[in-house]
């Protein structure tokens, strides 16, 4: 489960749809693993405007990763002379290469816990919670 995915995942319960606290989900007892992924600068440029920077900052601090700058880097900072900049490479490592292999994701609104096993999160809801 890449950290990029966590920047888009919300609580699955309908009751939490209207609440702002259902995003982002908070990791608990998370075990991280670094996986090598090929650098894809075009993808990072495409997706960066949609990344919620504040949610990413809080996620990074909750996982004990180095603190991120306050502002999301804008497109100009991602390339220097047509070469991917260090900022882009750092974003790549953080978003696409850092993964949660096991742990829990907790909703800030309802407190429901979604378990992660072998990198796969279980979002199946029993019918009384849908």
């Amino acid at each position: 489960m890449k950290l990029l995915t966590l920047n888009f995942l919300t609580c699955a319960r309908k009751a939490c749809k209207t609440s702002a606290a259902s995003f982002p989900l908070h990791p608990r007892d998370a075990e991280l693993e670094q996986i090598e992924v090929d650098l894809n600068p075009l993808f990072i440029q495409n997706v960066l405007p949609r990344v919620e920077w504040d949610a990413l900052k809080s996620l990074s601090s909750e996982l004990g990763l180095p603190n991120l700058p306050d502002q999301c880097p804008d497109a100009a900072e991602l390339t220097s002379d047509d070469e991917p900049s260090q900022t882009l490479k750092d974003l790549h490592t953080l978003l696409l290469e850092t993964t949660i292999q096991s742990g829990k994701l907790v909703c800030g609104n309802c407190g429901h816990e979604y378990a992660i096993k072998e990198g796969i999160a279980n979002f199946l809801l029993p019918s009384h919670l849908v």
Binding site: M1, K2, L4, T5, F8, L9, T10, C11, A12, K14, F23, I35, V37, D38, N40, L42, F43, N46, V47, R50, E52, L96, E118, G119, I120, A121, N122, F123, L124, L125, S127, V130
Partner: protein, 293 residues
């Protein structure tokens, strides 16, 4: 041979044995690969994108998403949803490492992502499973609605979704298309090899019109998706209604609606005036027949 969805719910049908059979079968791999390529050509993604794979299974379509060449706008980053734990386990067990993130989730319960997350969505051979009512609490229409609403929200404006599916009959096909339209999508169905045994149906959905970023400025129409594609005939069932509304009173007189009794009588009079042999009118003229066979 009955269809898989009539036998068991998807999470039970795709148990470990079935999941392994499905994934290792070269025939299935080839069919899934060709359908994924077709879906990708309909999506025509210009740049490496974030794609949602609904019913990703063991990642057969995901592998293709990850290996789209840069010349074709790839490779894409994808997040897959599937209800069967065995299929997802197969995805992890396969030789090649899986590039996309996997989620164990039921699409009929919604799509748990924030609004405007994805550039596009694909679904290969999955959404017909939503038409089954597995328990007494289930209402397929509600599940379909929940799924399409969630999908609509999770796509960004101008995003597209292509769902290849196998409807058991026309009623299922209509149910699925209607739910998609009600959710707000611009919807069209592309049928490959129509009428043959191998006919494949692709539900093409757009958020906010088919050709919004198209080179010709876009007319916001779903048919813009297939504009310029070779060998595609467009049947627009909306045109009939437009013509009807265009009349002076906004409603056509009975003699003008084809097939009605008044029209039949008028045509018979015309033919008689021409001198042709015409059967006499009776109470049976133009009566709706109940087709027994």
């Amino acid at each position: 041979m009955s269809r898989p969805e009539e036998i068991l719910p998807p999470d039970l049908f795709y148990n470990d044995t079935e999941a392994r059979k499905y994934t290792t079968s070269s025939r299935i791999q080839n069919i899934q690969a060709s359908m994924t390529h077709r879906a990708l050509s309909l999506l025509s993604l210009p740049a490496p994108s974030l794609v949602l794979d609904i019913g990703c299974g063991s990642g057969l379509s995901g592998d293709i998403l990850s290996s789209v060449s840069p010349a074709d706008g790839g490779p894409h980053t994808w997040i897959g949803l599937d209800i069967s734990a065995s299929m997802l386990a197969q995805a992890l067990d396969r030789d090649a490492t899986i590039d996309g993130d996997l989620l164990l989730a039921d699409m009929g319960q919604g799509v748990p992502f924030r609004a405007g997350s994805f550039d596009a969505a694909v679904s290969i051979s999955a959404i017909q499973w939503l038409c089954q009512a597995e328990t007494s609490d289930d209402v397929p229409q509600a599940r379909l609605r929940c799924f399409f609403d969630g999908l609509y929200a999770s796509l960004r404006r101008g995003g597209r979704a292509v769902c290849q599916f196998y409807p058991a009959n026309d009623a299922q096909r209509e149910m699925i298309s209607a739910a998609a339209v009600r959710a707000g999508f611009g919807a069209g169905i592309l049928e490959d090899d129509p009428g043959t045994k191998n006919a494949k149906l692709y539900l093409v959905l757009t958020v906010g019109g088919g050709d919004m970023e198209g080179s010709n400025g876009g007319n916001g129409d779903i048919t813009g998706v297939v504009k310029g594609m070779e060998g595609v005939d467009v049947e627009d069932s909306r045109r009939k209604r437009e013509r009807a509304v265009g009349g002076k009173r906004g409603r056509l007189a009975p003699e003008r609606t084809k097939g009605s009794k008044a029209w039949i009588v008028r045509k018979k009079e015309q033919m008689e005036r021409k001198g042709k042999v015409v059967k006499a009118n009776s109470k049976y003229t133009g009566r709706k027949r109940k087709i027994a066979f």
